[in-house]
């Protein structure tokens, strides 16, 4: 195990880090997207923090038997 071996080990570990870091976190992105969409479309009561009176609740006005 010489200096060359150490450099090789360090290099591969570093490459491992980079691989982890550039990988797109799809599940986390989906969660983040859901959170933003819920707020923009006011889908959860939790979105009341900045929205003020959530008057635009739009209750399913008339349950028409649409096909």
């Amino acid at each position: 195990m010489t200096n060359k071996g150490i450099v090789l080990l360090a290099g591969s570990l570093l490459a491992g880090c980079v691989t982890i870091n550039i990988y797109f976190p799809a599940a986390a992105a989906e969660k983040a997207a859901d959170k933003i969409i819920d707020e923009v479309w006011q889908l959860k009561d939790g979105a009341a923090d900045g929205a003020g009176g959530a008057k635009s609740d739009a209750p399913a006005a008339q349950p028409k038997p649409t096909k």
């Binding site: 880090c17 550039i22 859901d34 889908l43 900045g50």
Partner: protein
């Protein structure tokens, strides 16, 4: 001497790896993102009736489009066009900002396609959404 150096180096690298792994989360709490979100939230009240009428639909590339201008009374058409344009500008800026806030500007297109799927998934029934081939269907 060499072994000690190797051990220190190893520990350093391991902690970097752990840090990188722990950051596999998406940052969305920045002032720029919050501003865009609020702007879109306010616009939504004006857009919602047009989603419901089918005039405006959700595209497969995470934008919106005036897909049936005839569903909008002529005097309102220009206003709806402006709403759609402003919304698309905010949406594109949002995807770009999220990518940037996470130090990966190159993630923008993946973030956009993630949003495309989620907007459509969460759309109310009766709204028009675009499928993978570009065709329109009513949810």
């Amino acid at each position: 001497m060499t072994m000690r150096f190797a051990r220190v180096l190893f520990l350093c690298l391991m902690s970097i790896a752990t840090l990188a792994y722990a950051q596999a989360d998406i940052e969305i709490n920045t002032p720029a993102i919050t501003t865009l979100k609020n702007s879109m939230q306010q616009r939504h009240n004006q857009l919602a009736p047009h989603y419901a009428s089918g005039a405006v639909g959700l595209t497969r590339d995470a934008q919106i489009v005036l897909r049936d201008a005839n569903a909008v009374p002529l005097p309102q058409r220009q206003a709806v066009n402006s709403l759609v344009g402003a919304e698309n500008q905010d949406r594109s800026a949002l995807y770009r900002e999220i990518a940037r806030a996470n130090q990966h500007p190159e993630w923008e297109s993946e973030i956009r396609s993630t949003f495309a799927g989620r907007w459509i998934e969460k759309a109310q029934s009766g709204w028009w959404v675009q499928d993978g081939q570009g065709g329109w269907k009513k949810k």
